[in-house]
Subunit: 397 residues, 2 copies
């Protein structure tokens, strides 16, 4: 049994608690006591959070950082550079890039990553990304993506059944969940979507949804429906579904996503000139929110979380649409649930012992008052403020 | 004579140079040699930049960080919290807050700050902020703001002549320039604007311009002119003028600002729900750009610089409106010029020896290729990547 005493810890409420004793038994939290003294426990100064969930990642895109910022273009010209990189990979280079990327995530407080995986070859790319996360020590949900049309050779399966065969060959492990992904309405036809959704069953099912206006236009032209409507008709939109981006939605789309999770990736959405999604309207309709570093333009979950609010401020002229504790919930419990780990991302007895200890001593956070600790953290912390990270009872940084 | 050998240095061009020898004689750069070997010079690994200019700062607002992120509201409700803080200050607390704020700036690579100063009492607040910057070791341009209408007691002078009397009592020093500021069209009437603009002469003259739509509406209603038109008619808009924000402009406003500098403060503009300004159109019209941390919601000049581009991507759907070297120029040479230091913010013989050495070893920047060093820096660096900072030939961090 490990005893940790947190000067300040966030237990899911509107304010952080001062003086929290956490007992850890192997990989689980055994007990949480508030208003406690440190006694003989190990002291964690600063603010301690549950593990952060990075719900949408394409690890290999870390290798594009900086290099895609030359010249003018759009999402679509960026995509050509991404294809070129993807076509050059093999399992060894995939492992090396993914390992560096997951290490950056771990240092930023990410304890679980949703790897939306569509580079299926050459060789066993699935095992390469699984091994990279395991080597760093973070949990992974591998969202094996069905990709049938467009893209490059290594993305595509022959059909949805060939996809299901590969996905079915992957197994859960204590540090690994297998989930399904429909790459997008561009890459998967409606009949194949249905196959993927049925295969997914109770597993997480993710899909890129309405990231760019052109995607909507083409979908409406071909199918007479929005991407969200198409996914709804394919039976994809249940409580295990996560829509990635969901930037350009109709009011009806918002209602259809009410029971699902929407994963925003604000640093990527600004990098790729996607636009600003209706996060508040989605929340109001009943959708859960999560965040992801997606293209790895940067890896800073605090920046992703605050940008949900700050980008909506730019779009609406209003401050305070999303309180800090809701943004933190998106980055922790809601994110973990969207990845199939409902027992992670929360500091409570029985939960997985995933913890992130953040220093409040940096120039960014000094002067933080306990009553406003969540607001200071969400709106001013930076990834380097993460001091220590525990996954399943083990300190990995 | 100090000799520094930079593994990589930015000399103002589209690419960083490898192997740059910089000789420093007292507070000036004596010579710059490219393609040089290290010889017996002190080695600076990573990327070396000229000093960063933080052109728009209200240092005391650092004390609001986190605390203003509770509840819903707007720019106008935020302003009430800011008034309350300002009314509580005295020279000792002003010094303490400003010193901590300027230290955070120094650690982020800021070698010169434009302090837009309107808290004129009680006591000698001007000397408090001047002493704080001097204590940290960064240069300052004190933009003493004329504030006649609205606000709180300590902001206001009796009239523009009383303002000129106080401003006239302040003197330049080797580490200090005195400039003028028209707080805004809300706070200064047209006749008084003219007095301030005449007083300013060749000194820097700054003004908040069109930060919020309501400011424009009220100005049009009262004067039948936009804030920019009003400032133009008062004779303010010459080459020494810097418009702060300039978020909500008419096409005619953009043309009027062609010969001036526009200082964007993107992290504040998103925090205060101001909106996204027309940075590219301003550049195309001939305006110079600069950046500022303004309300100190965060202090990260790299984030300010990239947000000029990234916010416009959100607004336009286009990538690559502002190349990395132009964004860096805004954060260095153009910013320093707007603060009355045309001989700073550039690595060249005769310039002030202000240097910022950035590590490329962090998880954020590792893998940076020399050919894309500027793009990696601008789009992925964070303030903690700044390793050492030199002001006037002296390492201050």
């Amino acid at each position: 049994m490990t005893k940790l005493w947190c000067e300040l810890a966030w237990l899911g409420d509107e304010r952080a608690e001062q003086g929290v004793l956490i007992e850890v038994d192997r990989d689980r939290i055994a007990s949480v006591t508030t208003g406690a003294g440190p006694g003989d426990a190990e002291r964690l100064s600063g603010l301690t959070l549950p593990g952060l969930a990075n719900v949408h990642s394409h690890a290999f895109q870390r290798a594009l950082r900086g290099r895609t910022q030359v010249g003018t273009g759009s999402f679509w010209t960026w995509r050509e550079q991404m294809y070129e990189l993807a076509a050059s990979l093999n399992p060894d280079t995939m492992f090396a890039i993914a390992r560096a990327c997951f290490e950056e995530m771990a240092l930023a407080g990410v304890t679980c990553v949703g790897e939306f995986h569509y580079v299926h070859g050459p060789g066993d790319m699935e095992q390469a990304v699984i091994a990279a996360a395991r080597d760093v020590g973070i949990r992974m949900t591998l969202l094996d993506a069905c990709y049938l049309h467009g893209g490059i050779d290594s993305f595509r399966d022959a059909d949805a059944h060939a996809w299901a065969e590969r996905a079915g060959g992957l197994s859960d492990a204590p540090d690994l969940r297998i989930g399904a992904a429909i790459h997008s309405v561009r890459a998967v036809d409606p009949d194949s979507m249905r196959v993927v959704a049925e295969w997914a069953g109770e597993r997480p099912l993710h899909a890129h949804v309405s990231e760019q206006p052109r995607e909507n236009e083409e979908c409406l032209e071909r199918h007479g429906r929005t991407p969200t409507q198409l996914l709804a008709e394919a039976g994809a939109l249940d409580g295990n579904f996560t829509a990635i981006h969901a930037t350009h939605l109709t009011p009806e789309d918002v209602d259809l996503l009410a029971g699902a999770t929407v994963c925003l990736c604000p640093t990527t959405e600004r990098d790729l000139a996607d636009g600003i999604g209706p996060a508040r309207r989605l929340r109001d309709a009943g959708a859960r929110l999560a965040v992801g570093s997606d293209s790895q333009a940067m890896i800073d979950i605090f920046e992703e979380a605050r940008a949900i609010e700050l980008d909506e401020r730019l779009a609406t002229g209003t401050r305070g649409l999303h309180p800090a504790h809701e943004l933190l919930s998106a980055a922790t419990a809601e994110g973990h649930a969207a990845l199939g780990w409902p027992d992670a991302g929360r500091i409570e007895a029985g939960a997985l012992a995933d913890l992130v200890n953040v220093s409040l001593d940096s120039v960014r956070l000094r002067g933080t008052e306990p009553d406003f600790a969540l607001e200071s953290l969400v709106f001013a912390a930076s990834a380097p403020d993460v001091r220590r990270v525990m996954v399943g009872g083990r300190w990995i940084t």
